[in-house]
Symmetry: C2
Subunit: 209 residues, 2 copies
């Protein structure tokens, strides 16, 4: 019988496309086998298991996002860079919701460390060079940007902004403006507490619900 020409790369690519069409959750070894018109068991020579397949799709998505971001950042700095970076993030998620969901897959530490997620974080840090932040504040700012971009896009994709005005794109622009303003006027860190002093701001809510 003719061979289908399966490879891990082709499976990953097809899996990514399938994810964008029907959602990352629906990407299954069976569905992929149907797509290649091949028996399910055949795929197990190319990917270890279902989780391996999903991980490969996640890594592909992270790679693509980092590539887009790198291209968008080239030659830009300051607010221009921040805006370009933010838009790449949102545009990618909207164009490729399945891959974007894949990129959110929790990777085991070694895989994550070897992924393009690291490049992404480095680029976020590079953007901050256009702002005047103390070294000790940079990680906080990186996490703020990462969290905000991811959170906003994630809420938008899940339909959270669908039924209220204004359109999500308008808020997005204003939010990037606001983050730019925030980075230019980053609040001073509070004085470090004396070593033996009680914590200055106890958690306000740590009870079990």
């Amino acid at each position: 019988m003719a061979r289908a020409g399966l490879t891990p790369q082709r499976l990953t690519q097809a899996g990514a496309e399938l994810a964008d069409e029907v959602g990352f959750e629906q990407v299954t070894v069976s569905a992929l086998a149907r797509h290649f018109d091949v028996k399910v068991a055949s795929l197990y020579s190319h990917v270890k298991n279902s989780h391996d397949l999903k991980t490969r799709i996640a890594l592909l998505a992270l790679e693509e996002m980092a590539d887009c971001a790198a291209e968008a950042l080239a030659g830009r700095s300051g607010k221009d860079a921040l805006t370009a970076f933010a838009n790449v993030y949102r545009d990618y998620a909207r164009a490729h919701p399945g891959r974007y969901a894949a990129a959110q897959l929790r990777l085991d530490p070694e895989t994550a460390a070897a992924s393009a997620g690291v490049r992404h974080a480095q680029m976020t840090r590079a953007i901050l060079r256009g702002y005047d932040l103390a070294e000790s504040e940079q990680t906080h700012a990186v996490r703020l940007l990462g969290g905000t971009f991811h959170g906003y896009v994630s809420l938008e994709l899940s339909g959270g902004f669908d039924h209220s005005a204004p359109p999500a794109a308008v808020s997005w622009t204003r939010i990037v403006d606001a983050l730019d303003a925030l980075l230019r006027n980053w609040p001073a860190a509070p004085a470090a507490p004396a070593p033996s002093a009680a914590p200055s701001a106890p958690a306000q809510n740590d009870r079990e619900i």
Copy 2:
């Protein structure tokens, strides 16, 4: 034979607990049946199907989060309210990762409109009363806060901050500080573009990757 005393409520509650133990993804009708030491088919008299079960867990989580937030907000305003609200959000997610994941389930519009998610959004808006924002900017600010809180917590839970200093709790505090500063110095909206003018800032990246 003795009856197990199943009800939709008990199933939902047990499902929520199971989600916190093994992850929302792993909550299945079968697993729940095992928990009650009952045959799988028996559950289908109480919940319509697997999706119905998950939706009920999501609604429970949204309800609990809104209750916690309401309690934390009582008697507070300004930065105090912002901090309390933010901490409720993060603390709930850390204490109940499975329920938190459930709360992210995409609900159909009617279900979402009837859920406690609405209350949550109203509380966010209430917090903004402590700041001096133009009416037209409030929705943007609500979306910024929602996105940032959700995004940060989501990244933290998925382990994104595990392998870098400082601890996630430290950045969290600084980020809430920064958001407070931002809300107190919200940047002016740019002048509205003339009706027939070209868009002032074309998207920087809308190509297909």
